[in-house]
Amino acid sequence: MKRALFCWLSCAAGVLGAALACAATERRAPASPAAILKVGEAIYRRGVLPSGAPLVGQRAAGATVEGVDAACTRCHRRSGLGVMEGRGSSIPPISGLYLFKPRSHDDNDLPFVESMRAERDPYTEATLARAIREGIAADGRPLGYLMPRFALDDAAMAELIAYLKVLTPRRMPGVTDTELHFATVITPDADPLKRTAMLDVLTQYFSDKNAAYRNTAPRLRSGRPVMFRVTRRWQLHVWELSGAADTWEAQLAAHLAKEPVFAVISGIGGRTWAPVHRFCERTGLPCLMPNVDLPDAAPDDFYTVYFSKGVLLEAELIAHDLAARAVKAQRIVLLFRAGDIGEQAAAAFTAAIGASGTTVINRRLPAHGGDLRRALSGPGLVDAWVLWLRPGDLEVLAQRPPPAGSLYVSGLMSELEQAPLPESWRPATRMPYLFDLPDQRRVRLDYQLGWFAARKIKVSSLRIQSDTFLACGLLAETISHMVDAFQRDYLVERLDDNIEHRILTGYYPRLSLGIGQNFGSKGGYLVHFAEPKGAKLARDSEWIVP
């Protein structure tokens, strides 16, 4: 039955040649290739056996691993392309091509990955099953001690091997011999000035990236097929969405069909980014470092990477600060506009502050207009106020004296150090600040500012432009780490692993990702304005990771 299933899949997927003997000894209704792959995928990614029982692995040194901790993806990664983890700890690629393909000098379809075992004999299904069960490599040597032994039965083994074969690197959309295609996504509710500021940087970066290829340097081609195409140009597609948010996913699908891209880079959103996020996760399209202040990541999301958790992190920082100051906060009023990102921030704050003895009052202003004058009055005594408002609303509110009690203003929504707070409000108002302070980040920004100036890019929204430039730089570094293995999963994995090595991190003190991490920067400061006028900030806290 194992063989029958396996052949079925192989033929359908076109992965194997005709050499496979399809000697079916048992019959059952053939499952669809997708169904078989789902079984293999469950073993590979989640450590779940076809029976539903957890996968159990035994390491040579005696340790047992189980379930998701035993899943192949934990070490060999989702792409199956392996990883160099730790000095000398090399997890080899186990996607089909790397396991089964005979080696030859004219190998030009086996993308280089750091941990590949170029010297090893190819596996057969039998020797691979032996490797998985007994820890013995194709050439008879023992596998490394990190590799557990798995007592898989024949059916589960066949399904896992079938999955490994399908996992093999293939030509990705948006990758040609001469070009790499990327898209950037702009939602209709994005701030038009910031949209332009971002596009200025993106288009210039792509133009710079390709400038090197316009000269007369000989292309790295030779008579014999070569493995590496080092002259791929970068092509940017701008996907401008329109209309209601519930139509965006369909629009994105149409864009992707018309302009196949390898990944989405940067981009800019407004009140919601959720449809873009969902589309990227659903279609397996990396969506890297967009300019959004309300990201939308669930714990198992893989393809979406943000610089930070945005206003959700602000909410956690404010809750943390109230606790750290031991502020008696029995009544807290949250002020936000219906439909703006402050609404979700308020919900995140309520979750973070916890239930004990605190009454959180959500004061939800209409999406537009409304009477702001009464927004800052009782009822009763209010211990703390949190204003999730844009500069225009703040300006109106701040015409009156600040309310009694602790006062917090969202930094992201109020434009950070440009927030329109008058002198009377400044000493009393705390602001979560998810970035390095201006004085500390200046040196890191100098390079970017020089780049903008030399290219005559108007700096109209420094944070957006800095983040966009940083996203481009990280993409370029990651792509260069990939050598020629252009797989979407691998792109995300390489970014996860390498982002910590980035030296110029723009607005952020430090960036770091890892398996299951979607946010590069994880903390922030609490600050207030240091002077009656101007943009100088003073720190109220150390860097906090709530």
């Binding site: 040194a61 340790a63 901790d69 090399s90 080899p92 990190l146 991490q517 903390g523």
Partner: protein, 211 residues
Amino acid sequence: MHLHSGLKRTLPARLIRPLAGLCLGIALGVCGARAEAPATGQPAATDRFRVSTFAYQVPAVRLVRDDGKGVLLSDELDDGRAVFLNFIFTSCTSVCPLSSKNFSDFERELGAERTRVHLISISIDPEQDTPARLRDYARKFHAGPEWQHYTGTQAASVAAQQAFGTFRGAKMDHTPVTLVRVAPGKPWVRIDGLMTAGELLQLYRSLLAHG
């Protein structure tokens, strides 16, 4: 896949004490001290690990324990118990789970003796590894009352790693290291690579007897 090309022979326990004074901060291998045969009670070295001894100076590092309490690393180290220290991060998928599993088994195998040891695991991804996340991780490895996990600022984690010569820059470049000290004032025995719980127990007994 040989991950660690360790010394072929084990550091004998009888050599640890005299050499600790001579080889401050220098791996024994560099000092040229090799034993001809494994000492009684010491685990036989394999390609999985190598053992050396150091006299580390621990600077003032403030960490956050998995119960949320701020502590000084030196206080945690110098509470009179034997210390077993390693560096982990909760999203690490290859080496750290193995290292933690060994701690877990070691703690269990100690039985009643466990009250005389303190197992310390410090996160090298402290911004991700909040106390709550560390508690989940500890639960997964059935950590008993003798085993605590620590986080803190990035700078504090780096300082702790540097104090024990394990800092490698980025967390993905980490290597498995376990540090053992049977009592305050004694030298640190450093294990590069991975010992099983049984081997760790053997080493501990041997250090108690001879060190």
